[in-house]
């Protein structure tokens, strides 16, 4: 028995919230203290890699629409690549701060996929609204890993990246398969029978 889309979104929201708390803790104490224990250093890159693997599972079950299949596969690829690169960074295999550009690219691909695969307008239904909002949030949040690549010593990038995932988690928790947004629900969304 497959879960409804909103259930899958809430599960990802919980994962992203934990991910955000870990990122926020690292931003507060600084990477030096945070990475003092090996398991903790590997925690958030592993979570990102795990999210990528889970998104592949979601992609497998998203065959009801080519657009959803492509979008989920793009996210899966982006998250897997970003997680793998960050794992190599914490293991010391990659040292340049410019590797943060892979995370930036992953975030941009994910945000674009959210925007492209939502075919309805902002106020069609809550899920459509949230797809647009999450997409634009991710596209704008690209500034944080980009900043980390070019100005790695500025802590604002780490705080911003963590805040982005808290925002994404809140948005995903707000998602419902069928619900109005600001009191509006298109008659084509299924809320009101089409005459």
């Amino acid at each position: 028995m497959l879960p409804r889309a909103e259930i899958a979104h809430w599960l990802f929201a919980a994962g992203f919230l934990f991910f955000a708390l870990v990122l926020l803790a690292e931003a507060i104490v600084g990477p030096e203290v945070f990475r003092r224990r090996a398991w903790r250093a590997h925690l958030w890159p592993s979570l990102m890699l795990l999210a990528g693997l889970w998104l592949w599972v979601i992609a497998i079950f998203s065959t009801f629409s080519t657009l959803h299949l492509l979008a989920h596969s793009a996210w899966a690829q982006a998250a897997t690549a970003a997680g793998a690169v960050q794992l190599a960074v914490v293991r010391g295999r990659l040292v340049s701060p410019y590797w943060s550009l892979v995370t930036a690219a992953g975030l941009f691909v994910s945000g674009s996929a959210f925007l492209i695969h939502e075919q309805n307008g902002w106020l069609f239904a809550r899920s459509a609204f949230l797809h647009h909002l999450i997409g634009w949030t991710m596209v704008i949040a690209v500034i944080f890993p980009l900043g980390a690549a070019f100005r790695p010593r500025w802590p604002v990038w780490a705080y911003g990246f963590a805040a982005t995932w808290i925002a994404v988690a809140v948005m995903l928790f707000s998602d419902r398969d069928l619900a109005p947004i600001f009191g509006h629900l298109s008659e084509f969304a299924g809320g009101v029978p089409v005459p």
Binding site: I7, V22, V29, R40, L43
Partner: protein, 79 residues
């Protein structure tokens, strides 16, 4: 240090406040015609769970590591 310790409890509090504000998002309060997934995945309870996980698994070690240099400085001063 206090901020790191507060992250988990604040998240738990957020989940409890959400459950009280929107009890219909918790299947335990509205069990009628709910399926297995609704029982397994209840958003406010997931938030509480995440807060607990962070408090119990990540925060204690971080606080220890933050206290360690202070302890070492204290030991050096005493020695």
């Amino acid at each position: 240090m206090l901020v790191v310790e507060a992250l988990g409890p604040l998240t738990v509090l957020g989940g409890i406040v959400w459950a009280l504000a929107q009890p219909y998002r918790v299947t335990f309060f509205y069990p009628e015609s709910k399926g297995l997934w609704d029982w397994l995945v209840q958003p406010p309870l997931l938030v509480v769970l995440v807060g607990l996980l962070f408090s119990l698994v990540v925060a204690p070690g971080l606080v220890d590591d933050l206290e360690q240099p202070e302890r070492e400085r204290g030991d050096a001063a005493a020695g």
